[in-house]
Amino acid sequence: MKPRRVLAIARKESIQIRRDPRSLGMAIAMPMLLLVLFGYALTLDVDRVPLVVWDQSGTPASRELISRFAGSRYFSLKGYVQDYRDVERAIDSGETLMALVVPRDFAGQIESGRPAAVQLLADGSDSNTATIAIGYAEAVVQAYSRAITLDATQRLGARPLNPPVEMRTRVWFNADMESKNYIIPGLIPVIMMVIAALLTSLTIAREWERGTMEQLISTPVKGPELILGKLVPYFVIGMFDVLLAVLMGEFVFHVPLRGSLLLLFVMAAVFLVGALSLGMVISIVAKNQLLANQLAMILTFVPAFILSGLVYAISVMPWPIRLVTYLVPARYFVSLLKGIYLKGVGLSVLGGEAILLVVFAAAMVALANFKFRKKLV
């Protein structure tokens, strides 16, 4: 391997990149767009769940319960309905997600000391939102029920009772439980995977398709030199994207960075080499841009998004799928970044993930070199 030839290829490739400012611009704008979207627009946090109420009871007791719902920041009272058909229509059309039905004998039941049931009808199609909102509703009702018991004992002249058990919650690593604090660091691997694969997956296929590969074959450049030379400029773009993402996380979104910045960049470099080489392998195998394009998207973006543990927790997936996630390198980098950013832990805890990333990068580089043949057929 001669550095001069590697540099020559790298130079040729960077000139080619510079002459297509639109693609280059998109490679840099894309991470920013993603980060802005996730930072400002996308959240799984649930609040202000729209709620309609059907108050059949119409008593001070039922109004007290309803006002507890209205006062909670998790619900937003959309109005009152008078019959079941209205409830159905409101949920069908998506106007409301939940309906609270207070039965006619609500106050009477409470007076007579029997348990009164209120009904909560929820649109379960978005099960995540529904689960969380039902949880909130249960908390509201529980608090109300407890207040009744405490009130009753007090009214009857007894010594006031203390609530028996109190739950104190302490959340570590992400005290405000903001989803952006884990989504933003977790996004970096997805961005890098996609950008890397988009950029390199066409680079060799293009040469074949346009016929310029013959020119390259007639030069003394060797396979590994060609691959390395082609990686260099894209590596620079990729690392620039990482830098951009880290800076935006710090200054725009104020995501706490508790661990080592150096470790972050070293691991990013390792991951990037692997991702770029994966794109290169795709390009070498496909030999035409249409196929390379399809393969790159299918093999990188969607898996990096769904199987990396960024949005969907890996621990609840069935075991065969958990096995598949071990093949998704973004998975390791996502947990590395969550660890570095939020927990501030280092290699002592994350060593396993780091080693697997190195293995992935080495395997991809080797595969690219193995698959590439400097021959015309």
Binding site: P115, S125, I134, R146, L161, V302, Y312
Partner: protein, 376 residues
């Protein structure tokens, strides 16, 4: 004219399907992906890894812990004895939650004081943590209420019991609140959109880049016929794809189909036309396949994120919510979830269909205008 379009169709099919790898990518990959992702897309919170740090180790504290364990939401992974060990488990992610009770938990309960349970949660995944804390609060609340009832009983006697309120919740359309039912239609939509967009966005620019566009220009084919020839094959391939993926989704995952399949098919054709339109516009404004690919992704990614596939649109800022009205995938998701899960018909879904039709006409119109310029 029909003859020319026919020839064009044959050429396109040969070109797309000549590479056996391409057939695999178009027909096998989406099904394989659906199966893998179908299992992966779930936000159900079960088996939260829980460590117990019980310094009291009394009947009462064990009773509370067993209430956690018996719900199925929590899985006790370890009983720890020190702060350090609890911290270590959270650091490594081996535990997501630690239940901590200090010495004197039971004594406090007996004496009528307020006993404390401390719950330490790993907040890195705030969604899971939030749901797990919700469940914990419910368990603790019920436990607390049962003790309170006992006390009230002793104080007031059985006759003058205060009433209680219970919540009975029922989820419509998805009784067991399985998140898979919600996400699967979305996975179908994103997979099909991806294939369609990638195919069409390369369609015209490919001829330009390889130089075969000149050959087409010397044939007697007219711009209109050329557009049809470029659209119909991809529309057909995508439609086959939809049918294939949906069938697998229904048969493999038991996705409920509550509405009419015919209506679903009609809406899908309408949606595919908008996707084709977008793909063709990208193809006509790009000079190289690299540009087309980047532009496709630039469109696809935000439209997937802003469609309500994973992130509810209602949670987005108002400005972004307006933006989502431009997104065809948004309407398609409402339609396919509506038909699959709610079983609603066009009387509810017509606004979405109208919106899709408008977007389709606009994008296809734009594409054919740009085409005429390239070909003129």
């Amino acid at each position: 004219m029909l003859e020319r379009i026919w020839q064009m169709l044959i050429k396109e099919f040969i070109q797309v399907l000549r590479d056996p790898k391409m057939k695999g990518v178009l027909l096998v990959m989406p099904v394989a992906q659906l199966i893998v992702f179908g299992y992966a897309v779930t936000t159900d919170v079960r088996n939260v890894r829980t460590a117990v740090y019980d310094l009291d180790n009394s009947v009462a504290s064990r009773e509370l812990v067993s209430r956690f364990a018996s719900t199925g939401y929590f899985k006790i992974v370890e009983y720890v004895g020190t702060d350090e060990r609890a911290r270590e488990l959270l650091d490594r992610g081996d535990a997501q939650i630690v239940l901590h009770m200090n010495r004197g938990f039971e004594d406090d309960l007996r004496a009528g004081r307020t006993a404390q349970l401390q719950v330490l949660a790993d907040g890195t995944d705030s969604n899971t943590a939030g749901i797990a804390l919700n469940y914990s609060a419910k368990i603790v609340g019920e436990y607390s209420q049962s003790i309170l009832n006992g006390r009230a009983l002793r104080l007031l006697g059985p006759v003058r019991q205060p009433g209680q309120v219970r919540l009975q919740s029922r989820a419509w359309f998805n009784e067991n609140l399985e998140s898979r039912n919600f996400y699967l239609p979305g996975v179908i939509a994103i997979l099909v959109t991806l294939v369609t967009l990638l195919l069409t966005s390369m369609a015209v620019v490919r001829e330009k880049e390889i130089g075969t566009m000149e050959q087409i220009m010397v044939t007697p084919i007219r711009p209109f016929e050329f557009i049809l020839g470029k659209t119909v094959p991809f529309a057909l391939i995508s439609l086959v794809n939809v049918v294939l993926v949906t069938t697998v989704g229904v048969l493999w995952f038991n996705l409920p189909v509550r509405g009419s399949i015919l209506r679903l098919l009609f809406a899908t054709v309408l949606y595919l036309l908008t996707a084709l339109g977008v793909g063709l516009v990208i193809s006509t404004i790009s000079n190289t396949q690299q540009q087309a690919m980047m532009s496709t992704f630039f469109f696809y990614m935000p439209s997937m994120l802003l469609s309500g596939f994973m992130f509810p649109i209602a949670n987005m800022p108002v400005v972004v919510q307006w933006l989502t009205y431009l997104n065809p995938m948004r309407y398609f998701l409402v339609i396919i979830r509506g038909i699959f899960l709610k079983g609603v018909g066009f009387d509810v879904l017509w606004p979405q269909l109208v919106a899709l039709a408008i977007i389709g006409v606009v994008t296809l119109g734009l594409a054919s205008r740009r085409f005429r310029k390239t070909l003129a």
